[in-house]
Symmetry: C2
C-alpha cells in the first residue's frame, strides 16, 4: 500500500513490506542476527485493535505491533487514531524504566508507521486470561502484579513527582484523548443506556441488562467514577489492565498493551486487574467438569485477589516511606513528619485508593457482561444457560460492590462477599 | 533596557518606552485616538506581582499590565515566570467570551513583552477589598459574582465540554505550572510548617500560628485539598479570586488578574471569594468607630455570603438544564434523563462542590492570617491587639470550617456558624 500525503507516510505493513522494513532498520535487524533469510513471520493479532507479528530468526526474535486507524474488531466504521501507538510506546518505555522485570523492552518506535518493535515473550508465555480459563495456578502472579502496580503508580504520582514534572507529563498524555474517550463510552456510558454495541447472553440476562439501565443509585455512582476518570490526574495508569494485557508463565509476569495509558486515577488500573480476577472466579463454574470441579482453583483465585491488594498496599507504602525525602510534593516531610500523622495520612490515602479500586473494578466487570466487549472467561462457556448463570452472579456482585464499596475496609471482606453471592 | 537574546526580546517598559510602544501598535493607538501628545501615564501597580499603567488620552484610555520575571513584592530573590501573562491573557479572553459583562476586554497581547492591554475600569471603580474596608454596600455584588462564577465554571467543565475539548484545554493550561506551584506553597504548605515567609500579628497570635502547625486533623484535611488542587481538572478556574481581584462600583462588577488560571477544582474559586468575604466580615470590628459600629454592614456581608452561594447554585443548575442537550459528556441525557435521577445527580454535584468550596475557602482564610501574604482588611487595622482579636476569630472559624465542612448542608448554616464564633 502506497503512502499518501494525507496520512503522513502511514501504510499498513504486510508480510513482505514488513521484512523489507526490518532489513532497512538496524535497530530491528540487529535483534535478529545477520541471517535474515529464513525469517518466520507469524500474525497473532488476537487483540481488538491492532496487527501483531512475531518475527523469529535463527538467532533472535521480536514482536512488531502496528496500530491502524480504526478498531480492528469492529472495522473502519469505528475510527480510532493510530497515534495510540505513540502513547503505547511512551508508556511501555516509562513503565519499563520503572519496572523492567515486568514490562517488555521496546527496541524501536516508528511514529509515522505507528509501529512498535518490542521483545518477544517466548513460550510458554501465554495470555493470563487463557491461563485462568485453563485453570493454571501462577504462584508468583500476585507478587509480580503488585510490584508492577506499586512501582508504576507510585513513581508517576505526586508522592514522587514534583508538580513541575507532573503537569508536563499530564499535558503530554492529554494527547491520548481518543483512547480515553473510548473507555468513557464503553465502560462508563454504554452499559447504562440502550446502545447498538451492547450485547449479553440473551434471553437469560435480558432482565439483568435492563435492571442495570434502570438502577438510579448505580448510575449515580458510575457518574462519580466517570468524573474521576476524566478529571483526576493521579498517576500514569496503564488504562486497560485486564487479564488479557498480562502474559505469564509460572515464573514470569509481563504487562503489555498500554495504549490506553494516560494520567488518571490509580484505582482504574488496580480495579481493572482485581475486577478481571473476580470475573475469572465467577466463570470457573462454567469450566468445571467431572474431572475437575475447579473448587481448589477458585480458592487460589480468591487468595490471589487478596494477595494482589495486600501486597500492593505494602509495597506502595514501602516505596512512599523510602522516598519521603524525594521530590514528591503532595505530603511535605516538614508538615507530616510526626509518626502518628504520617500513618494517618497513609491510611487515608490507601483507604481512598481501595474504595476507588473497588468502584472501578466493579464498573469494569459490569461492562464485560452487558457492554460491547466481553471476556473469553465467559464467552468460552459453550452452554448459554450455564454461561448466563455465571455472568449473572458476577453482575450481581459487581453492582453491589459498586454501590456498597465504602462499607469495605479490607480485601478479605470483599473476598467473603464474593463467596456469599448465591449460586 | 535593551533586549537580550536570552530573554527573547523581553524588556521592562518604562514611561517613555511605553509611549513609544503605544505609538507603534495600532491596536493600542486606535483606542487612544489620534492625539497622543497629552497622554497621561499613571503607574498603579498595587498588586504583588506586576507593573500596571493607566493610560488616558483626550479621547480614550486603556490599562497596560506587564509581568516581570520575579515576584514584585518580594524581589528578584523569588523568580516567577513572566509567561504568566500569557495565561492571564488567555483566561481573560476565554472568561470574557463566557461572561463579557464582568470581565474587561483585552485589546492586545504581546507575548515576548508579557504585556497585556485591556479596558481601563474608570472611577468610581475601586478594588472590592477597599470598598469592603470602607463599609460600602454593593447591592449587585452577589448577583454579578454568582453570574461570573456560574458561567465561567460551567462552560469550561465537562458538563458543557466534550472530553476532546477538555483535554486540549487542560494540556494548554498545564503550562501555567509555576503559578500553580506558588499557590501550592503559600496556600497549602507554608502555613502548616515553619517557613521564612510566614508572619502573623505577633506576639498575640504566636500560639495560634503554632496551633495551626500542630493540628493533625487540619493538616490531613489540607492534604486532601492540595491533592484536589493538583490533580482535579474540573474547570478553568481564575485561580486567585479574592476580593482584591474584583473591581466594583455600585452598578458594575469586573473580575481582573486571572494570571493563576488553570484547570482545577471549581471550589477553589468559589471558596476564595466566600473566604475573603468572611475575612472582610471578621475585620469589621477593627474598623468600627463611635460613628459606625459596622453592625448593619456586617449583616450585609453575611447576606452577601449567603446570596453568592445560593445564586451561584441556582444559576449553575439553570445553565446545566439549559445545556443538557449539548456536548457535555459527564452526564449523558440518555442515561440520566429520568427527572428524579437528574435531580439526584445535580444535588450530589452541588453538595460536593459546596463542601469543596468551604474547604478551599477556609484554607484561603488561614493562609491570609499566618502565611506570607496578608489582606488589607486586617492589615489596615492599626492597633495590633485589636487586629489580632479580629484575626484570631477568623482563624478559629476557618479551622473549624475546614475540619467540619461536611456537616454543613446549606450556606445559612455556615452564616450562623460565623456569628457563633465568640468575640
Amino acid at each position: 500500500m502506497a503512502a499518501t500525503a494525507a496520512d503522513g507516510g502511514f501504510r499498513v505493513l504486510d508480510r513482505n513490506s514488513l521484512i523489507d522494513y526490518i532489513r532497512a532498520t538496524p535497530a530491528l535487524s540487529s535483534q535478529l542476527g545477520s541471517k535474515l533469510e529464513g525469517l518466520s513471520v507469524k500474525e497473532v493479532g488476537d487483540g481488538n485493535l491492532n496487527y501483531v507479528y512475531i518475527i523469529v530468526s535463527s538467532s533472535g526474535s521480536l514482536v512488531l505491533k502496528q496500530a491502524i486507524p480504526y478498531i480492528r474488531c469492529i472495522g473502519e466504521s469505528w475510527p480510532m487514531t493510530k497515534e495510540r501507538a505513540y502513547f503505547e510506546a511512551l508508556a511501555l518505555k516509562e513503565h519499563g524504566r520503572l519496572c523492567p522485570t515486568h514490562v517488555p523492552e521496546v527496541y524501536h518506535f516508528d511514529r509515522p508507521l505507528s509501529l512498535i518493535a518490542m521483545r518477544y515473550l517466548k513460550p510458554p508465555h501465554i495470555i493470563l486470561r487463557k491461563g485462568l480459563i485453563a485453570g493454571i495456578v501462577y504462584p508468583l502472579l500476585a507478587e509480580h502484579m503488585s510490584e508492577y502496580m506499586a512501582r508504576t503508580l507510585f513513581f508517576t504520582s505526586l508522592l514522587y513527582h514534583s508538580t513541575l514534572e507532573h503537569r508536563r507529563e499530564v499535558a503530554e498524555y492529554c494527547g491520548n484523548v481518543e483512547l480515553c474517550r473510548l473507555t468513557e463510552q464503553v465502560v462508563f456510558s454504554d452499559p447504562y443506556k440502550v446502545s447498538q454495541y451492547n450485547h449479553w447472553t440473551s434471553p437469560y440476562l435480558d432482565h439483568n441488562a435492563e435492571a442495570v439501565r434502570e438502577d438510579d443509585i448505580l448510575k449515580l455512582e458510575v457518574a462519580g467514577l466517570k468524573s474521576m476518570f476524566c478529571e483526576r490526574t493521579q498517576a500514569l495508569v496503564h488504562g486497560d489492565l485486564h487479564t488479557g494485557s498480562v502474559m505469564v508463565t509460572t515464573e514470569s509476569t509481563q504487562v503489555i498493551d498500554p495504549e490506553f495509558a494516560f494520567y488518571g486515577p490509580m484505582g482504574f488500573d488496580i480495579g481493572a486487574f482485581l475486577g478481571n480476577l473476580i470475573l475469572a472466579f465467577f466463570s470457573q463454574d462454567g469450566h468445571a467438569d467431572q474431572g475437575n470441579d475447579r473448587s481448589a482453583y477458585k480458592q487460589w483465585i480468591l487468595k490471589t485477589i487478596g494477595d494482589v491488594w495486600n501486597l500492593f498496599q505494602k509495597k506502595f507504602i514501602t516505596l512512599w516511606n523510602e522516598n519521603k525525602d524525594g521530590n514528591g510534593e503532595a505530603y511535605l516531610k516538614d508538615i507530616y513528619k510526626k509518626p502518628e500523622l504520617w500513618n494517618l495520612v497513609q491510611e487515608k490515602y490507601i483507604k481512598d485508593l481501595f474504595h476507588d479500586s473497588l468502584g472501578f473494578g466493579a464498573a469494569k466487570m459490569i461492562r464485560r457482561i452487558v457492554g460491547v466487549a466481553h471476556v473469553e472467561d465467559f464467552e468460552s462457556i459453550p452452554d448459554a444457560r450455564r454461561r448466563a448463570t455465571c455472568e449473572r452472579r458476577a453482575l450481581e456482585f459487581a453492582k453491589s460492590l459498586l454501590k456498597e464499596r465504602r462499607r469495605f475496609d479490607k480485601i478479605e471482606q470483599v473476598v467473603s462477599a464474593i463467596q456469599e453471592i448465591p449460586t
